[in-house]
Amino acid sequence: MTEKDYLKDISDIKDIMNKSTRFLSLSGMSGILAGVYALIGVYIGYKLLSGYGTGYGGGTNVMPLVILEIVVLTVALVVALLSIITAFILTKKRAKKNNEKIWTPVSKQLLLHFIIPILTGGAFVLLLIYRGYYGLIAPTTLIFYGVALVSASKFTLSWVKYLGIMEIILGLLSFIFFGNGLLFWALGFGVLHIVYGTVMHFKEGN
C-alpha cells in the first residue's frame, strides 16, 4: 500500500462517519425561497396593519383589530407552510442527486429534534394569542425557531447551528425593541434565510 492509499482510507473514514451521522442534502435554495416568502408575507402584514392605523373610521381598512391580527397570523402560517413544502421538495431532489435516501435513521432524528421545539413554540404562541399577548408572538417564534435549528443542527450541516443562534439573538432583541415584530420577522425569517441560503447555495456549487 502506498501513502496515497492510507490518505484515502482516512478520508473514507471521515466521509462515512459524517454521512452516517448527518443528513447532508439540505438545499440552500430552499433557504433563499423561504426568505423570499417571508419578506412577501411581512410586506402583506405591514400593508394590512398600516392600513388599519390610518384607515380607522372610513379609511381603507375597517376590520376589527382582533380579526386583523388573525389575518396577519394566517399569512404567517401560509408562509411557514410554503417554506416547509419547498424545503421538502428541494431536499428530496437534492438527496436523489446525492444518492442519499431522504428517509434514514439520521433524517428521522433530524426531524424529531427540529419538531419538538417547534411544536412547543407553536403551542406557546397559541396560548399567547388566546391570552391576547400579541406583542410576544414575534420574539417567541424567533426564539423557538432558533432553538429548533440548534437542536437539529447536530444531525445536519453545522452552519444550521449558527443560523439558529442568530435567530435566538434576533428573538431576544425583538423583545428589547418591543413593538417591531414585523421588522424582526423580516430580518429573522427573511434576510437571515436569504443570506445563509445564498452562502450555502454557492458552497454547494449548484
Binding site: I10, I13, M17, T104, P105
Partner: protein
C-alpha cells in the same frame, strides 16, 4: 518503518470493513440496510464482511423483529473500538512519517 506497519490491522485493510467500523464508531448501532446504503455494497458482500468482523469479536449482532420483518443491528464491541482506534493512529503515523 517496519515497526509502524505492524500496527496496521489487516482486518481493517479493506474498504468495506473499514466503512462498517467507521459507521459503528459514531453510532450506538446501525442496521443492515442502512450500512448497505451507506457503503453501496450488495447484501452478500456486506454479510460476508460483517461475518469476518464478528469472528474477530470486533462487532456485536442484535437481531430484532419490527412486526414480522427481521431487523439486524450491529454495534462495535470494546475490543473493536480499541483496535480501530489503534488502526487509525497507525494510519496517521504512517502518513506523518512519509510527508
Amino acid at each position: 518503518m517496519k515497526n509502524i506497519i505492524q500496527n496496521i490491522n489487516k482486518i481493517f485493510d479493506h474498504r468495506v470493513r473499514l466503512g462498517i467500523m467507521s459507521a459503528l464508531m459514531v453510532n450506538d448501532h446501525v442496521d443492515f440496510n442502512t450500512l448497505k446504503e451507506l457503503l453501496g455494497v450488495t447484501d452478500g458482500n456486506l454479510a460476508s464482511h460483517l461475518k469476518s468482523l464478528e469472528k474477530e469479536e470486533y462487532i456485536d449482532i442484535n437481531k430484532e423483529f419490527i412486526g414480522k420483518k427481521p431487523n439486524t443491528k450491529y454495534s462495535s464491541t470494546q475490543l473493536g473500538t480499541l483496535e480501530f482506534k489503534k488502526h487509525i493512529n497507525a494510519l496517521e503515523r504512517i502518513i506523518k512519517s512519509q510527508s
